[in-house]
């Protein structure tokens, strides 16, 4: 086996799987997507097709497969997985940054799919704007506008979350202090 080809492809597949997980939020669904993507790539190569940029090719196929799958679901109704373990595993963050990551994860979830795709391709996978445009089959200007809207939306959502959390903490502190005073017999308003 050619080590160079093998190592590069292995890194691409890992990256592709990470992106698929971030896009679908479901590791099982992501693995199915990547599997279908690799099957198509293998068939293409077997039929004599030439792939000039393997990474861009794999991401493009993944998007096509994902788009087809989304279309199929829209026609047949939304599929709700019974086993939610895979979903939890897909984005369970390390404990030390749990709150921050959860906020970002939820904010990403609320983004429209087209914006989430661009934000993830550029911000997570490090694709150039040009390559992201090729993968998604859209003009580079559209990539830029989706990226801008997506990031600003994330910023607003996480900022609201932070404010809400701070407000919540403040309210908890006030409540706790109120109870302390009440216990001590001081007159105060709790609530």
């Amino acid at each position: 086996m050619d080590h160079t080809v093998g190592e590069v492809l292995h890194a691409y597949i890992k990256s592709l799987r990470r992106y698929a997980i971030s896009l679908t939020r479901d590791s099982n669904e992501a693995d199915d997507l990547v599997q279908e993507c690799l099957k198509r790539a293998l068939t293409y190569i077997h039929d004599g097709g030439k792939i000039l940029n393997m990474r861009a090719y794999l991401f493009t196929i993944l998007h096509n497969v994902h788009r087809d799958e989304m279309g199929r679901r829209q026609r047949n109704g939304t599929h709700v997985p019974i086993d939610t373990d895979s979903i939890r595993l897909a984005y369970a963050p390390p404990q030390d940054t749990h709150m921050e990551c959860r906020d970002l994860s939820e904010a990403l979830d609320k983004l429209p799919t087209d914006q989430r795709q661009v934000v993830l391709l550029v911000g997570l996978e490090g694709l150039s704007y040009q390559m992201a445009a090729e993968v998604l089959g859209i003009p580079i200007g559209t990539v830029m506008s989706r990226l801008s809207r997506g990031r600003n939306a994330l910023r607003n959502m996480t900022a609201i979350e932070v404010v809400t959390q701070n407000e919540s903490k403040k309210n908890h502190q006030q409540e706790a202090e109120g109870w302390k005073r009440l216990v001590k017999g001081e007159k105060t308003h709790v609530g």
Binding site: L9, I13, R17, Q35, R151
Partner: protein
Amino acid sequence: MWGNHYDFESRKSGGYMDELLHAYVDNMLPPRQRLEVEEYLADHPDMVQRVNDFESQNRGMHRLYDRHLTEPLPESLQTLEYEIVRKLSHRTKSRTAVRVLASALVAVLVAGGGWYAFDRFSTTGVKGNILATFKSGTSSPAARAPAADTANIRQASTTTRRDPASASRSLETFAPDLAKFGLELIRTRLVSDEVKSKTVQLVYESKVGNQVQMYLSPTREKKKQQISLSQEGRISALFWSNGGHSYSLLGEVDRDTILAIGSAVNEQWEAMTGPNMMPSSSATPMEKHSGDGSNINHASKSFIQPVVSPFDRGIKANEQ
């Protein structure tokens, strides 16, 4: 887009400033523009917070999902990965081998002429056996026969010659159809512009990416007819000379296939230029053949001597 320099000052406002900040966050600006953005940010603290937030988003996404990079791939994906790597490695190796041999062959053909290539690449002891394997495009083991004597072939073809100008034009326009072998012509190239050392390269490729390259060049020794097969690993190479031209085939195909391809090429060459029956120097233009030789003037037949192709000659030698 981001590699191009543009008027930074006139585009500080509106959407362009926004795009610049994103490109800055994504490290997609050239150094000079990056410096300009940093100078701009030094005067705009509100924008610094924005940039920090965007960078924080990127770091957050990596914290969320980078751990999946260290997970082993599921078995189903590993299998597919292995298959793709195997296919790609196979194709890369075979193409590299063909290219290396082809490069060496071109150098030899251009520098020393076709028959030096024959001597350089042929394998001693193989020549005669190969002759016996050709029979009108058939190369099945059943069609093979004992070795033929190449010296006899040379003797049988010493009295005819081709029209050099016509042959040269034919050489440049000749592109055999190898579809029956699953090969499609993907590239042609004239290796040298000098008439004496002109070599035409034709590159064929199968659907699975295996390449067969063919080189056609005029030979200095127009009277010789020879044929040779050599093998370097998985690459088969077939050389033959006929009617003042040398033909070289290189490809990652087995021995039988390269022989069958060679036979088909020879047949198609003969179909285009005539079945190796060329008028002698005393024949008039009206007496010259065109195509398959069927319109040759009967009065001139005494000037015409048939030249048996090395492929047919190999079979005939066997039949005796």
